[in-house]
Amino acid sequence: MQVLPPLKRDSYPQILHSWTDMYKSPDFNQLSTKVKSATVADVEHALTSDRLSLADLAALLSPAADPYLQQMATRSSEITLARFGKTTQLYAPVYLSNYCTNICAYCGFSADNHIKRKCLTLDEAEREALILHERGFQHILLVSGEAESALDVTYMEAIAKRLRNKFAAVSIEIQPMSREHYHRLFLAGITAVAVYQETYNRALYKEVHLSGKKRDYDYRLETPARAAQAGMREIGIGALLGLGDWRTEGLALGNHLQWLRKTFWSTAFTVSFPRMRPATGSFEPLVNVSERNLSQLIFALRLFDHDVGLIVSTREEARYRDGMLGLGPTRYSAGSCTAPGGYGDSDADAEQFSVGDHRSLDDVCSIIRAKGFDPVCKDWDSEFQSSQVTD
């Protein structure tokens, strides 16, 4: 479905004329069987194909593909280079609030965790963003826990309008919203929405999302589609690595991505790979996902979808991120702090997760350059973003 850039608020209903059947995620156990039953021959077929099917993706994610990691890396690197060139995009998150009404077993912001709660005022939030601006960032991701009472669409609209002239791109990773609210945020200057399903395993989803709005698996699953329909230029999806079987999550992600791509063909997509790290609440990952596993997942998705943006955050260590440059990922966060107000106040605590790569933007840029790549901070235009709004 083509999503036309809306010009006026009034034009909104017309954009919705061809809303199609919503995405249904396939049964996780069936996907798991597909992954487990792949053979070496299936892997070799996938490695020599230019256009990969979901069966090919299953093969590349399977245990049978484990010994082929180097071949996958080579192919992934070729494709990434051809499609994205010798560049790596950079962004930084701004944590706006750690209030959350959900109880999620794995998350540091979970409502039942006794942490110091804070929601930045608009002035504080702007100050945090401006610190990043001074450090050289042109793309920021506004992040928050999921609590509408602390941070609603009006707040987000207000902060977007303050920031849109200063940044080339402002993305959000906050609670799922309605199409109407996403559309308001798009008009206010937000260009991208990230929302992760955490796990595509419906039963496990219920087990780890204990209370709150987030317990509704389907509402969350439909969120990327709502955001795309509202006109967002880019949608990010992902699974939290450490909950369900990562191989099956990868296949579910590919399936979701393929549907999104076919339905919203004028929207760009990214996949993130948040690998669980220690957080307050001492939740032990349910499954161990090694760096080799993570790499296999990244390479498999790159071979499956040549155009998708692949994001590796500062959850991963500097050594890993440096090593992966050019092999598949296209975007890194850098110099991140995951506690609200953390850039201005280095003593701010109550972070969502602890960071694995503590280097500054400058240091990360130096490494990227040393590898022969161009660190790209600006990938859109603030003038364009603020001039399209007509209200």
Binding site: M1, Q2, S18, E44, H45, L47, T48, S49, D50, R51, P67, Y68, L69, Q70, Q71, A73, T74, S77, R261, K262, T263, W265, S290, E291, R292, S295, R319, Y320, D322, G323, M324, L327
Partner: protein, 260 residues
Amino acid sequence: MLTIAKTEFKSRLFLGTGKFSSSSVMAKAITASHCQMVTVALRRVNLDNPDDDIMKALSVREYTFLPNTSGARNAQEAIRLAHLARAASGSSWLKLEVTPDPRTLLPDPVETLLATEKLVKDGFIVLPYMNADPILALKLQDAGAAAVMPLGSPIGTNQGVLSDSMVEIIIEQARVPVVVDAGIGAPSHAAYAMEMGADAVLVNTAIAVAGDPVAMAEAFAKAVEAGRTAFTSGLGQRRKHASPSSPEEGQLSSDLAFLD
């Protein structure tokens, strides 16, 4: 099984009914091809007259008739022809053709999109004939087209699928069946389109003007089946470089030496 607008087709070969030396040759060729969908030009056939040569030769029960708007030069003319066709045949199936240039008979993308939008709203099952333009294919399916019919090469030229790199993208992106139409001059062309993953092909000239149209129809039927089977069984890809047939177990080259 191919499904278009909830109708199932065993055969993935569609036939055009023009240019045959006689209606009886046409009928025999169509039988030999095992096709289940035939397109007929409203300008040539009296859809509501059972004594019409072509209508007499083909049983309405055995085939899905796909009336086409051949001769329409713009959306407005195509829409009028479509309504006449439906009134005469009672069927909502429609192959939409808008070809303002009578020399090349190339489809007009702008008028085709406009006509598709309108005809879908009017309840037609629209299969638009189009140039092999991937963005147009996406817009047509968003407008509600039941299938898209990109051309392989200019109609009647027998040049084969010259538009293959664009057709490949159309196939990859489509949510509706892709029928390669026009320019398919030999069974190998049809097989090639099917190997690429086309859902069906439409052939007319190559069969109608063959020395033995009935035998040629049979050859096309076999080619379409072979191509489809090749596609579903997973073709090996042509590669520029040799690739090792067995991986080096567990050995990571320096690329991945950083992994812990």
